[in-house]
Subunit: 144 residues, 2 copies
DNA sequence: AGTAAGAGTTGTATAAGCCAACTATCTGTT
DNA sequence: AACAGATAGTTGGCTTATACAACTCTTACT
């Protein structure tokens, strides 16, 4: 097998292995906020609020799934909805104060976990790894 | 924010984004074999057969979950069980002929998808990316 | 006005997962 | 030899995540 194919094979296997474990790990370390909820909140923070439809498109989820997830996050007082004054169909979602705080706390724990796994890496490797992941995900997004 | 933290942050975000999408993508492209089933079959192929308990440990799944997954794969005639002659508690799982064929087919489609996303990468970058992922996952496994 | 499109919700079904309780087998100690 | 404890796996019961389809409400276009 040529070098190239072998690398592709490894990348495939390792990305898959990571994906497979991510949810279980997230559930174990953050029973209060599932991986999905966490990413939804992160996205809201990133964008400074967005619509449910945007979340669905970005995470390849059905809009009904997002609707229920958002409802749950609202019940937990992590997210609030503001009807768009220019278009009464849309509800712009925003983090509440509690949402911001909870996200920050979970993000910190997660960051610690990642830092542990990245102990001993030098800065050049880290930044190259980060760049590769960005490049890969951009392609994945374009092609999906 | 120092360079290092920024890289860790990016790695965390991008790995998470990938994990978040992996299941949806897998479900879309392979309705016949979920991401979990696929990884279980792959593991069986890799090891040339193993116990349900090993699968559970490796993928951080409850043994009851694995039991049901395996039962489903058996119903589909993708996996067969052979009671260990030395220990009648143990059922060693093996791919059936159909299992091997199905796995090969799905793996090929997945590989194509990965190759598409990795178009334009040179060999050095690919092999470095693969190495980073391996290194990362090894650490993750050690620390879990 | 009237139709088409978009945003979101709700009903229904399925799958995946966990925990706890159980059976069957094996191992080690007395 | 016998019993206690550990291990492999199954099953019952429950929760959650997800998809699809049908629906309402609002906006946009003609």
């Amino acid at each position: 097998m040529p070098h190239r194919d072998q690398s592709v094979e490894t990348i495939q296997r390792e990305m898959t292995a990571f994906a497979r474990r991510a949810r279980a790990t997230a559930a174990r370390t953050h029973p209060e906020l599932s991986l999905v909820s966490f990413t939804l909140l992160s996205h809201l923070e990133d964008r400074g609020g967005c619509r449910a439809t945007d979340l669905a498109a970005h995470y390849l989820l059905d809009k009904s799934t997002v609707s229920r997830q958002v409802a749950a996050l609202e019940r937990l007082d992590l997210v609030e909805r503001r009807v768009d004054p220019d278009d009464h169909r849309v509800q712009v979602l925003h983090l509440t104060e509690r949402g911001v705080a909870t996200l920050a706390q979970v993000a910190a724990t997660r960051r610690t976990a990642f830092e542990e796994r990245l102990t001993g890496w030098n800065e050049a490797d880290l930044s190259r790894f980060a760049a590769y992941l960005l490049r890969y995900n951009e392609a994945a997004e374009r092609l999906s």
